[in-house]
């Protein structure tokens, strides 16, 4: 195939705001950026713009469908009137960069949205950002493989620390279908773990120090130098949280 640049250019036109303006206003620079031939540039300049819009809207629709399906509790924590603006800002800032694992597009999109809420979300959404992170951790633990991780912790174990007590808030949402409004912040450290060969998830509340130990394990930086750290390591071993490398 000879059209890598053409495909990249078309993909950006469909997913990255501002790219179309570059094509229209600075076609030569656009062609140089994607190493387009004159014919390829001509094809893109001649593209039916309403069909380009239709295709771009279809892509956005699929991305947001992934987010809504993967993050139902988060959605219920965000005021319905804010969804449209929030989604538009998210789509504008966060292009659909390919996730590392196949079949991981829904989780990848949910991860992107969770990161967006945490890093770029408007003021007043820290609760939703926490819930999004928690829902993503649950999905990642569900699909993570215990043995196929380059970390010491298995892919079925995910760690998170939160401003709010997300376990209580999430359980409340599952019971009542809505998230408690304006809860009191309560710092929470936890591990979400999928049981071996099961789809059941368990959430373990952790102390800040145990969390720090496991977090270092997760990043592959761990060499226990205290009795407490060795005890955390033994617990992780006993519970089957470690990969072979971790054991």
């Amino acid at each position: 195939m000879t059209d890598d640049g053409f495909q990249r250019a078309l993909a950006e036109l469909l997913t990255v705001p501002g790219t179309r303006r570059m094509l229209d206003d600075a076609a030569d620079g656009f062609a140089a950026r994607f190493a387009l031939t004159a014919d390829e540039l001509g094809l893109l300049l001649g593209t039916n713009r309403s069909r380009l819009d239709l295709t771009a809207r279809s892509i956005v629709g699929k991305r947001l469908d992934f987010v809504r399906r993967a993050l139902p509790a988060t959605m219920s924590a965000l005021p319905a009137r804010s969804h449209q603006g929030l989604f538009a800002d998210f789509i504008g800032r966060c292009p659909p960069v390919e996730p590392a694992e196949h079949g991981a597009r829904p989780i990848g999109e949910a991860r992107r949205f969770a990161d967006y809420l945490r890093d770029c979300g408007p003021a007043g959404v820290p609760l939703a950002a926490d819930l999004a992170e928690y829902e993503v951790l649950r999905a990642e633990a569900q699909f993570g493989q215990p043995t196929s991780s380059d970390r010491l912790l298995g892919g079925h174990v995910r760690l998170g620390h939160f401003t709010f007590d997300v376990i209580t808030l999430y359980d409340g949402w599952r019971r009542a279908g809505r998230v408690q409004a304006e809860p009191t912040p309560r710092p929470t450290w936890l591990a979400v773990v999928r049981a071996s060969e099961s789809s059941a998830l368990a959430c373990f509340r952790l102390g800040e120090r145990a969390y720090a130990v496991l977090d270092r394990l997760g990043r592959g930086e761990f060499a226990p130098d205290s009795e407490v750290e060795r005890a955390v390591l033994r617990l992780a071993q006993q519970e089957g949280w470690l990969t072979d490398a971790g054991c």
């Binding site: 000879t2 950006e12 469909l14 279809s58 892509i59 694992e101 196949h102 597009r105 990848g108 493989q145």
Partner: protein
Amino acid sequence: MIRAGQPWLGVGLGYRQDLHDAIFARSGSIDCLEVISEQYLAAAPAQRERLRVLRERFPVVPHGIELSIGTAGPLDLQYLDDLARLVVAMDAPWCSDHLSFTRAGDLAIGQLTPLVRTREHATAVAVKAAQVQRHVGVPFLLENITYYLDFPAELSEAEFITEVVEQADCGLLLDLTNVFVNSVNHHFDPVEFVAAIPLERVVQLHLAGGQWSGDTLVDTHSAPVPEQVWQLLDHVADRLSSLRCVILERDQEFPDEFDELLADLTRARQTFDLVRGG
């Protein structure tokens, strides 16, 4: 391309989780299912269990959406390894994906996007389709897509499809709704289109219904199969010598009455009962 002894799987549905209970409640009216390959490639235990339950009751075929065979450059061998494992685990008679690209550079656009139809591209895709078939070990089918963007090109769509599948010696998953939708949006005759592709390579059919968005007909998989697609089906039905399966696709706006979907299945089944002398 397709083994002579491969059985007729019948007329079935694209499996969607939203339809799970209804599918099992009316399983006697559904011959087979098609699942989205990527949902089971690196399956969590819940997905593996779901697949086991489906396979216990129905013949199931995998259908991919993210191979992105048209992306410039080599195929992803890890994806092929995962797909080969899934095919073995499912004992799948064939696997399929789309004649399109969904990834470019580091962007996963998730949209079946058309290729520029040159002979060079047809050959490049054919080489990769043959590679998929060898790697996975079962016949590989390529599906014609719906496209809204189109680029003036050396080959017509029918010529491009023919070049690819003939060179690759692979099968076709013919989506008749896509043919109809494209014929409306790009102003060609769908009957001439199907006459110009190698119908003897069609192993599976897709049927679905779409909706209008402004002046464009969109393949939304959200409505009953339109009359024009049934007419197209009647037109080709007795010329599909390799056909083994027909799948009705419905992805959204699921009807309150599941009978609406079953009615489309029944109509398709009647068509092929007539052709097959059943």
